[in-house]
């Protein structure tokens, strides 16, 4: 398969941008929209999801030859649910405030299509090390996007980022930004910006390739 040629470094980096689960693949949007009312919530949700994704990917990848194809989805869900339970109980014990503000969305990580998608598309077909790196990259991309989204909404809707006041008191908070409508507006604008950036990068890549081809011919 062509996958073997992908370097380990690329396996990690692709999750940050080229295959960013939120901005490029539009996966797991339910928690993305629902809990990102602040940067802390976004980061908390991102890290919880990353933990589940990394652990589940590792286990699934180790067991990939033992799982019969017919029951693979059910097996994935059992593994994922185990780690979600661990996260849920740990957060309740150690970070009760964060756990309360994320609410039902922690148990709902079980059905996050990003996690199931990575098991199906990657961990069940690759060795444990590659799967681990892939999960780390995807998780980092997910967590970073949620943190930025939460940060923007918190900044405009509450004047703060991570609880630190950034905008002066004269700035009237935009209440809509911490309402669900603000999540859709911000995510939409972020998706637009991501498309703009990747389109520009593509154009530059095409130009570079053309220049390189020209150089070769002249040499």
């Amino acid at each position: 398969m062509a996958k073997k040629q992908v370097s380990i470094g690329n396996e990690f980096v692709k999750g940050l941008w080229d295959q960013n689960p939120v901005l490029r693949a539009l996966l797991g949007l339910c928690p993305v929209l629902a809990v990102t009312t602040s940067a802390v919530n976004g980061l908390g949700m991102g890290l919880a999801t990353t933990f589940v994704l990394v652990c589940a990917s590792l286990i699934i990848s180790l067991a990939r030859k033992l799982i019969p194809a017919q029951v693979r989805i059910a097996s994935f869900i059992v593994v994922i649910a185990t780690f979600v339970t661990i996260v849920d109980l740990t957060m309740k014990a150690k970070f009760p405030a964060l756990s309360k503000s994320l609410g039902a969305f922690i148990p709902l990580i079980v059905v996050n299509c990003l996690i199931l998608g990575r098991q199906e598309a990657f961990a069940s077909k690759n060795n444990p090390f590659r799967s681990l790196v892939d999960a780390l990259g995807m998780g980092a991309g997910f967590a970073a996007t949620l943190t930025v989204l939460g940060g923007i909404r918190e900044l405009l809707g509450n004047r703060t980022v991570f609880g630190v006041q950034i905008l002066p008191d004269v700035w009237e908070p935009w209440i809509v930004m911490i309402l669900p409508a603000g999540a859709f507006l911000t995510l939409g604008l972020m998706l637009g910006a991501a498309n703009l950036i990747s389109r520009r990068r593509e154009r530059i890549a095409v130009r570079m390739a053309r220049a390189a081809a020209l150089n070769e011919r002249t040499v």
């Binding site: 935009w174 209440i175 809509v176 507006l185 939409g188 637009g192």
Partner: protein, 330 residues
């Protein structure tokens, strides 16, 4: 290209080096976008004038803020996209003007500016610019302001008015949250007609709005079907509820709040209203029904904005189902 060429040539032909294909039948209205937009702006002058008369010159700062936000966004995005200049067609300025007229007097010009940016940036340009927007941009801006600054958007006390009585709750607010028996004596139909009542900057005087409506109808810019269906719908649906003992008189429904302003200036927007006469009647009647349902059974005293936005969303459906049969088709 299609919109550009339809402006310059009606019959089709070779135009500026590219073949311009236009299918028949056509009868060009003969007016450019710019001329329409500036005429609508002129039709709003009576509203602005009565607003200054009743609420003082402060309202001009709010309106200016909204226009600056709307036109500034249009200019900046046009610049970044290297598009042709779209400011002279007046559509962004008109959006800003409309937005500035549907916020409370004494509303902060900076917030109005934000509303203008959202109206044009998210309400129009994000959908592809003039002609491609699904929702009325000025109302998108207002909905954003309503959700962002709910306290300021319902604060009617800041008006530096020359008539003390009007720096108080709006007639609809009094009806909904005050003592309904008290309002009957307080707010007479005459006051609603002249504009001596609290309310949004441009929506206070029904007479000024009706002058604007006359201008739009005489120049045949606005379709009379939309205005007529909305006002008739308000009278009919308001009347049905009034007769069954729910709500104020139908005339109060039509004259109070933003009903007339919405019917004349917001619902008649070309881009976000149906193309067919039958569709226009459905559209206007739907807005009237939704408005009255929101007013009577919703949590808000006023529902014209959400009613128009909701009906905007149904316009493609209305257009599809009211399309006249092709000539010769079964």
């Amino acid at each position: 290209m299609a919109t550009e060429s339809s402006k310059t040539s009606v019959l089709g032909g070779v135009d500026e080096g590219h073949l311009d294909l236009v299918t028949s039948p056509h009868s060009h209205f003969g007016w450019s976008t710019g001329r329409i937009m500036w005429t609508v702006s002129a039709a709003l002058v009576p509203c602005v004038a009565t607003a200054v008369w009743f609420f003082g010159f402060g309202v001009l700062a709010t309106i200016a803020g909204a226009i600056l936000g709307a036109a500034g966004t249009e200019w900046l995005v046009g610049r970044l996209n290297r598009r042709a200049e779209t400011i002279p067609d007046g559509s962004a300025i008109l959006t800003g003007l409309l937005l500035g007229l549907v916020v409370p007097p004494g509303f902060s010009p900076f917030m109005a500016f934000i509303g203008g940016v959202v109206a044009v940036g998210i309400g129009k340009i994000a959908f592809g610019g003039l002609g491609d927007n699904i929702f009325n941009p000025a109302l998108v801006g207002r909905a954003f302001l309503q959700a962002s600054f709910p306290a300021q958007m319902t604060d009617w006390s800041h008006a530096t008015s020359r008539v003390d009585a009007i720096s108080q709750a709006t007639p609809l607010g009094l009806y909904k949250f005050g003592d309904p028996s008290q309002f009957a004596g307080d707010i007479a139909t005459q006051k609603l007609l002249l504009g001596e009542v609290g309310g949004c900057i441009g929506a206070t005087s029904s007479t000024a709005i009706l002058i604007g409506a006359a201008i739009l109808l005489i120049t045949r810019i606005a379709h009379w079907q939309i205005m007529a269906s909305m006002i008739l719908g308000g009278l009919v649906f308001g009347g049905i509820f009034h007769v069954s003992g729910i709500g104020p008189s139908p005339l109060f429904h039509v004259l109070a709040g933003g009903f007339l302003f919405g019917a004349v200036f917001m619902a008649t927007d070309y881009v976000t209203s149906p193309n067919t006469p039958v569709g226009m009647w459905i559209y206007g009647g739907g807005i009237a029904l939704l408005t009255i349902l929101i007013r009577l059974f919703g949590g808000l005293p006023e529902g014209v904005m959400y009613a128009i936005l909701l009906m905007n969303a149904t316009v493609p459906l209305i257009n599809r189902h009211t399309r006249p049969a092709l000539f010769g088709a079964k």
